[in-house]
């Protein structure tokens, strides 16, 4: 297969066979730091003091109880949405429709709130409202899942379109003075306030106050963590995500799992809308900006956290700090709050870039290694190869694996091709 005069790339990229746990965390930390430094350079370029900016961002989250309260408010929707998305992402179902699902959840919760008013006891009322939000978001997501299951429709693009459809439905209700939803008055139309009986209760600990949505968020994180890791359904999700065919041959009802999972994912996201409406974050009413871009940021959070629930909590807090801190920095220093978006983007870029070094390893090819690789592969050449090929990384255990794999590639390639060809036929 290989000839001596074939041009070989200077760097050989190969997949890491085993993942080291510490390495991932270290690399990610380095990525975040790099992004913050880059962000600091941006700030300096705009003529502000980067150190003062970061100090303000930090102070703007923790300096006073009000800031902490605002920070919690920023984090909760982000956290729940990211957790909800992670359920779908685990199945490799690219639900980027969280914006729309939050809106639909909020809209159904809002509608039910207006119908209920104070006709039922407060606790029951809130429960019904939250459930209707869950249902609203869930059903909105289920439509897409149904098309995906039945016709293999591209879910990424369809959920994207559904975001805007939901948004303009809400805009329609607002701008056309639909009486049921809109507060009486002559000014710019605004949505009605929901009845006070349906407000989430505020909890005060010392100077600190937050509403019950915090506990709901924690409960959901724990539920999803257990669900994905320890239940049969959670296991099915990861099998379908890794290989739908494997799942099918193992006797799983792939379509049903798909529908169920997407419903769960978007239901959790729909709950975010309901919590926003009933909670204090959006002043107990509906609005066109109720998502506050959370649907987009959550995709990033879920991805950065590699769908790990604990990591999702950490990343949500980090993103929340950036968002809330940048808002405070704007009023204090006059620096645009868009800095939060720039920082989020930079963090993503660096983490995406640094990820490469977690998943792949780069080895430099030397000339003599090239010649040996061209010799017919046997166990012995593998051994010499191992000794003669200098590797950039210093984990000896892995080197052995890599080199064997590399040499096997040439013989296995033709077989692999046949296998993949068969796979394709099987699919059609």
């Amino acid at each position: 297969m290989t000839h001596n005069n074939v041009r070989q790339p200077l760097f050989q990229i190969s997949k890491r066979t085993e993942q080291k746990k510490g390495l991932g965390i270290l690399v990610n930390l380095a990525a975040v730091l790099t992004a913050l430094v880059l962000g600091g350079i941006f700030v300096a370029c705009l003529g502000y003091d980067p150190f003062k900016f970061y100090a303000k961002v930090f102070a703007g989250c923790f300096e006073s109880p009000i800031y902490i309260k605002l920070l919690i408010r920023t984090i909760i929707p982000l956290l729940i949405t990211s957790i909800g998305l992670s359920v779908a992402f685990k199945m490799k179902f690219w639900n980027i429709g969280a914006e729309g699902q939050i809106l639909m959840g909020a809209l159904s919760a809002f509608t039910v709130s207006l119908l209920l008013k104070d006709s039922v006891p407060s606790f029951l009322g809130i429960l019904i409202v939250l459930l209707s939000g869950t249902l609203g978001g869930g059903l909105y997501g289920l439509i897409v899942a149904a098309f995906k299951a039945k016709f293999n429709t591209n879910e990424t693009l369809l959920t994207l379109m559904f975001n805007y459809i939901a948004l303009y439905i809400v805009f329609y209700l607002l701008n056309n003075n639909v009486k049921f939803f809109i507060a009486a008055g002559n000014g710019i139309p605004t949505f009605k306030l929901i009845d006070k009986a349906l407000w989430l209760s505020e909890i005060k600990i010392g100077d600190l106050s937050f509403d019950t949505s915090l506990f709901i968020a924690i409960a959901i994180v724990v539920f999803v963590a257990i669900y994905l890791k320890f239940t049969k359904q959670g296991y099915q999700i990861s099998v379908v995500g890794d290989s739908p065919n494997t799942a099918k041959y193992a006797g799983m009802k792939v379509k049903r799992i798909m529908l169920r999972t997407m419903f769960l994912s978007s239901a959790i996201i729909g709950l975010v809308g309901a919590l926003q409406v009933t909670g204090s974050a959006a002043s107990h009413t509906m609005s066109t900006g109720i998502t506050n871009g959370v649907g987009w940021t959550a995709i990033i959070v879920a991805w950065l956290a590699k769908l790990n629930p604990i990591a999702i909590v950490v990343v949500s807090i980090l993103m929340g700090i950036l968002e809330q801190g940048s808002n405070v920095a704007r009023s204090a220093m006059g620096i645009s709050a868009a800095m939060a978006d720039v920082l989020q983007g930079l963090i993503l870029f660096t983490i995406l870039a640094f990820d490469f070094f977690i998943n792949y390893k780069v080895t430099r090819r030397k000339k003599f290694a090239l010649q040996e690789a061209s010799a017919p592969t046997t166990e012995t050449t593998t051994d010499t190869d191992k000794d003669s090929t200098p590797q950039l990384t210093n984990e000896n255990g892995e080197e052995n694996n890599e080199v064997t794999e590399e040499n096997n590639m040439t013989c296995d390639q033709s077989i692999n091709e046949i296998v993949t060809d068969n796979d394709k036929e099987g699919k059609e």
Binding site: F151, T156, N175, W303, A338, D341, L348
Partner: protein
């Protein structure tokens, strides 16, 4: 005659609103056809918009503006390629990051300049050059002149770029190779096509073209005045349009102007309704949100119908959205 003029006015606005969409769509088609799903159109356009606008307004030259817009946005494409092709990062996430970063950076620069009172204004000369170009002489022909020859230069460029992209993709050898990379990079690689390089080139040029759309948004749709939302979702409509146009730049021309018509109707529906009170009077009753929603509804339907029909032609390139890793084929 009055009715005819109303139709002409609305159709002409359709082209004016459609042109930035056409830039975005053509750029995204080039990107997707070579196998990369770049969801960062909105951000890429935003960066082209702010870069191109500042350069154009300060140098007082439309050409410099276009050049800088193209360059700024192609840098986004280069970054996207570096992350997804070389470092094999997930394309969906990279694209979204590009959108968040690009829109954020555009706002950051714009707002900072605004608060410091340094936001450049377009000179009268430049405004004139941008707004009323058209083809002298021809544009004075009644009806036809208004309909065909009375646009700003961007509109013509957008159509020319789309046609060039179509010829490149479907009539040249390089285009065939590029489509092969988008359909089956493994096979393309085995016949000696450099998959990585093909994707790099197409992503970069595609993004550059999107940047021209961004500059259009800044200079024409927003007439050079700053607001926080310069691109206003046009980038996402472009992503939708790619599907609507079934990955063909030629169909993208028609699609862009159809979607442009929907945008034009948002503000100009009363012109039509008043010109034909009996036939089209009902148009006045349709809420604006309907026209805003329609591009997305139509695209959603196209996505669904395509998937039901399982068409062989005009569907998403097979490898679009999937990174190519040689050892995994």
């Amino acid at each position: 005659m009055e009715g005819l003029m109303a139709i002409v006015t609305v159709l002409a606005s359709a082209l004016r609103f459609g042109a930035p969409l056409l830039f975005g769509t053509t750029g995204e088609i080039l990107t997707e056809k070579s196998g990369s799903l770049n969801l960062g159109v909105e951000g890429t356009m935003a960066i082209g918009a702010i870069g191109g606008f500042i350069a154009g307004a300060t140098s007082n030259s439309l050409f410099v503006g276009m050049l800088v817009a193209f360059l700024c946005s192609s840098l986004c494409g280069l970054l996207f390629s570096f992350l997804t092709v070389t470092l094999k990062a997930n394309q969906n996430v990279t694209g979204l990051a590009m959108t968040i970063f690009g829109v954020g950076l555009c706002q950051l620069i714009g707002q900072t300049l605004k608060t410091k009172g340094k936001f450049p204004a377009m000179s009268e000369e430049l405004t004139h050059a941008v707004a009323s170009n058209g083809i002298p002489g021809l544009r004075n022909i009644p009806v036809l002149g208004e309909l065909l020859f009375n646009y700003n230069i961007f509109v013509y460029i957008s159509i020319i770029v789309a046609i060039i992209a179509w010829v490149f993709m479907f009539k040249t050898k390089a285009g065939l190779r590029m489509r092969a990379v988008g359909e089956n990079p493994g096979a393309a690689d085995s016949v000696g096509i450099n998959v990585d390089r093909t994707r790099y080139i197409n992503n970069t040029i595609g993004s550059g073209i999107m940047g021209l759309g961004g500059l259009y948004m800044a200079m024409i749709i927003n007439i050079g005045t700053w607001n926080d939302n310069w691109i206003g979702g046009y980038g996402w409509i472009a992503v939708a349009l790619v599907i609507f146009a079934s990955w063909s730049p030629a169909r993208a021309i028609g699609g862009s102007f159809l979607f442009g018509l929907l945008i034009a109707l948002q503000s100009q529906v009363s012109i039509l309704a008043n010109a034909f009170p009996t036939a089209l009077g009902w148009l006045n009753k349709i809420p604006v949100e309907f026209y805003k929603m329609l591009p997305f509804v139509i695209t959603a339907l196209v996505i669904i119908i395509n998937s039901i029909g399982k068409k062989k032609e005009g569907v998403q390139p097979t490898a679009c959205g999937v990174n190519y890793y040689r050892e995994e084929r």
